[in-house]
Symmetry: C2
Subunit: 297 residues, 2 copies
């Protein structure tokens, strides 16, 4: 098996037409080049060059037969270097983002649109899954960055970079409960109403459960739902009182379809974080995308 470095020497000599010039180009001495060619010739069992007084020229039945293929091969390998280097120094390639549908919708959609305007060369791959699954995706190198509902279990292979958004869970109701507008309520008061809560095994639900239990007033849902959008609709239709991050319900609240109950104490805010696999490559594009979420001080 031939040492591939010899092909680089071969190519350079062929292009320069001279051992001496090739040596300069390769930043090695002329005898080194001479020996390399000799070695390649013996290993291939063929003389590749005609030695003339003015230098080296490809022999018709040796070097000339292989020159173009060697050229293409070296071109490909150079391309490989360039490709990766470009990937690190300019915003190209693919950005694989993992997050829950909710986070995509409420936290990322705008950012992704903005980013795409600025760097149209970057392709997106959006992988929507619940936060624990997103962590798996990160570990399995199925996505480059994940956006997670915090807190998550600490994990060796995952680096949580930042908290990019605060979520404030609030209780909301529709016109059917207009009498509650402006009234100060406690968690105990809520137990008397039909509650619409996010389904179990979600960070949002865990937050409510933990909050209500720690106050000694566990809340039971009348209806469990797996989508914020659906919850908002049902609550607006008067099905009961919902618990939802204020940020997700902003529009309906502004439009008056929903109003926020004045529950005290308020639930502590949750946050959405940004996570990377510990050993992942951080491409230029990824870094640029992450910058969109830098805290503005």
């Amino acid at each position: 098996m031939v040492n591939l470095e010899l092909y680089r020497v071969f190519y350079t000599v062929a292009k320069c037409g001279s051992l001496t010039k090739a040596a300069e180009e390769l930043y090695i001495s002329q005898p080194a080049v001479s020996q390399a060619i000799k070695q390649l010739e013996t290993q291939l069992g063929t003389s590749l060059f005609n030695r003339t007084h003015k230098g080296m020229e490809l022999s018709a039945q040796g070097g000339a037969l292989i020159f173009e293929e060697v050229e293409r091969a070296l071109g490909l390998l150079n391309g490989v270097e360039d490709k990766l280097s470009e990937l690190r120094h300019s915003a190209t390639g693919t950005l694989r983002i993992g997050a829950s549908e909710t986070i995509f919708q409420y936290c990322l959609a705008d950012k992704i649109v903005d980013f795409h305007k600025q760097y149209p060369q970057v392709r997106f791959e959006l992988i929507s899954d619940v936060s624990p699954k997103t962590i798996e995706q990160l570990k399995m190198d199925r996505c480059d960055i994940g956006f997670l509902n915090l807190p998550i279990e600490s994990d060796e292979d995952i680096v949580v970079t930042d908290s990019i958004m605060l979520l404030n869970d609030v209780f909301v109701a529709g016109e059917a409960y207009a009498d509650l507008k402006g009234k100060e309520l406690s968690v105990w008061d809520l137990q008397r109403y039909p509650l619409l809560l996010m389904e179990e095994h979600t960070v949002a639900r865990a937050a409510i459960d933990h909050f209500s239990k720690s106050l000694g007033a566990p809340l039971q849902p009348a209806i469990e739902i797996d989508s914020w959008g659906f919850m908002k609709k049902l609550v607006a239709d008067g099905m009961g009182i919902g618990c939802i991050p204020r940020e997700y319900a902003r529009r309906r609240i502004e439009e008056g379809q929903l109003f926020e109950l004045d529950v005290r104490p308020a639930m502590p805010s949750r946050s959405v974080g940004m996570a990377l696999a510990r050993n992942a490559n951080v491409s230029f594009a990824l870094r640029a995308f992450m910058n969109l979420f830098k805290r503005k001080n």
Copy 2:
């Protein structure tokens, strides 16, 4: 600039999915492979593999991006080795033959046809030129083998392999000179007839000149010609007496259009030789072709 050998390691690891197996395949130790990959990764500035408990898998934003190109490049370089090796071990490629038109016609035509039947894969390049020029062609690597009218000046860069055919120059005439049939003649007798001789600066002419001068009876041509075919026609038409290798005029003699004069002493025979450039590659095809001219003992 990345050491190209590292790509071979990269490729093998990618295919094997394991450092350990790649090490076996490459006949080097596992740590050597581990280090090579590490080195390639640092030189390319990117991690190429995901290390898992079951081995190495290409990372989506690293190795997977370059794998196919590396594969193609290595394929090309392997192809190069195969191509040259095939060229030495089977009859393929191109055979570039240099010779004078005459030699092509009278000595080589049949052989080339035979060879082509046996090795249809071999392409021919026929370069017809006078013998001294053919020597130049050999030196300049424009042909692989030359067929020359001997003798030639001895030359450092040329190896004359063999004498493949004897040429016996004889004097011939047509029916116009029928009275000379069967008569024994000397060179002096010939001086009285119009002679058709090959033009100067050819081996054939030099042979006649040398022969006649050494006998003290230099022969002057009435007509100088540059083609044996034309000479045969003119002689047959009665323009004079021609001097031509018997081998070239065989058909016309057999058909009775020409007859051979009984000149004594006869001219010494000349020969056609086979010549190679001293440093040339001898491909399998070339060797096979040369075998056609082996003396049959």
